[in-house]
Amino acid sequence: MDSTFIIEKSVVILVVFGVTMLMAMYSTWAERKVAAYLQDRVGPNRAGWGGLFQPLADGLKLFAKEEFAPNTPNQFLFRVGPGIAMATALMTSAVIPWGDRLHLFGRDILLQATDINVGILYIFGIVSVGVYGIMIGGWASNNKFSLIGAIRAASQMVSYEVAMGLSIVALLMMTGTLSLKEISEQQAGMNWNVFYQPISFLIFLICAFAETNRTPFDLAECETELIGGYHTEYSSMRMGFYLFAEYANMFISSTILAVLFFGGYNYPGMSWVAENWGVNLANIIGIGALFVKLCGFIFFYMWVRWTIPRFRYDQLMHLGWRILIPLSIINIMITGVVILRGEIFAYLGW
C-alpha cells in the first residue's frame, strides 16, 4: 500500500462523495421541475437561470431556520436519526463502478472506491441499516404520527428487501459473481442483463421504489394520514437531512439499476472507441453513458411519482409478499432450468 494508492483512492472517494451530494441536490431541483412540467407549469425559475440555484437557496433556508426539538426523553436518538439516514445513504456509493479505468500519470486508476467481491451484499447490508435512521428518528420524536410512519417505513423496507434479494438471485445465477465491477464488465457490448432477465428487472425496479420510499409506496410519509410521517417533528437542517438522504438513495438506486441491468458504463461501440480514440476517452464517454442511464432512471422515478397514486397499506403488503416473492422464486427456477438445460437434456437422454 503505497502513498500514491492512498492518494488515488482518496481522490476517487472525494469525487464520488461530491458527485453524490451534487446529484442529490440537483435531484430536488429536477423533482420540482419535472413535477411542474408534468402538470403544465414551469417550476422554479427565479434563483439563477432556470432556477438552477434553487437547491442552494433551499439549503440556505433550511440552515437559517429555527431548530425545533419536541419534548422527548430521547434527545440524543432524536439527533442521531437523520445522521444515520444520511450516512447510510452516502455509504452505498462505495462499491459502484463509475467507469472502467483511466490511464493517468503512468498508472491505471480504477473508477471505483473499492471492488469487494460481495458488492451487492454490501449494498443490501447498508440499505438494511438505513432503516434505523427512520425508525430511531420516528420513535424518538415522541409523536404517534412519527411512530406510525417509522413502523410503516420499517415493515415496508423489510418486506421488500426479501423480494429484492430474491429477484437479484436469478441475476446472480447468470453472472456468477457478486462484484459489481465484474457484472459491469460482463455486459460489454449490448449484452445488457435487462434483455436476459426482464422479470428480475421489473421486480427489482418495483422494490427499489419501495426501498427508497418513493411515491406509489411512500406510505411512511403519507401526508393525508400521517402529516409528514417520520419527519413530522423535524425542522431545519435535520429534516433537510432526511429529505436529502431520500434523494441520495434515489440516486444510488438508479445507479445500481443502471449497473446491474443496463450495462453500467458500457455503451455500444465502446471497444471501437477504445481502439481508435484511446482508452481514456472511451472511459470518459463510459462515465457519461452511465450518468445518462442513471439520470434516465431518476427521471423515471419522478415521472412515476407524478403519475401513480399511493397504494393502500394492505395492497402494498399484498404486492410484496403474495406477488413479488412468488414471482421472483418462479423466476429463479426458470433461470436455473435454462442454465442447466444441457445437463437436463443429457439426463433425459435427448
Binding site: 436518538l77 467481491n117 443490501f124 432503516v131 430511531i136 420513535w139 428487501e161
Partner: protein, 180 residues
Amino acid sequence: MIQIPDIANATPIQILFCVLSVITLATAFLTIYSKKPMHNAIYLVICFTSISGHYLLLNAQFLALVNLIVYIGAIMILMLFTIMLMNLNKENEVHKPRITRLGAIVVFCLMCLVLIAMFMNSKPIADGSYDVTGEDYQSIQVLGKLLLNEYMVPFEFASVLLLVAMIGAVLLSKKEKIEK
C-alpha cells in the same frame, strides 16, 4: 502462554481490534444493564455491528455482510417493532426469585471456565502450524462450492429446519376457519 501485547508498537489492525472489542463488550453489557427496552435493542444493534467489524478484521467479508443483513437488517428491526408496538417503556419487570439468579451466576461461571480452558489450549494463529490449502476462503465462490459439496447435507438440513420453522409460524399465526 498469554502474550501481553506491546501497546507502543501496535499495528493499526491491533488498534482497530481493541477499539472494536471495547465497543462490543461495552454495548453488550449496556444491553443487559440498561433499563429501557428501546435502548437495550439499540445497544444490541451496535454490538452486532461491531461483531460484523470483527468478521471484517478476520477477512470474512461474506460473513460480515450476512451478519449485517440478517441480524441487524432483519431480526433487530423486528425486535424494535415488537418493542415499539408493545409500549414496554414503563419499567414493570417482574422480580426474579433468588434461586434463578443464583443459578444464572453459577452457569455463567461454569461457562467462563469452559471458555478459558478452551482458549488456553487452542493453537495461536501465528506459529504456522495450520495446513495451508492455498484456497481463498473469504471468496464466495469457494465458500459456495464448499457448502454445496462437502457440507451439502448439513446445509440442506439447516434449510429444512428453517422451512419447518416458517411453516410452523404461519400455522400458528393463521386464524382457524369457522366451519359452517
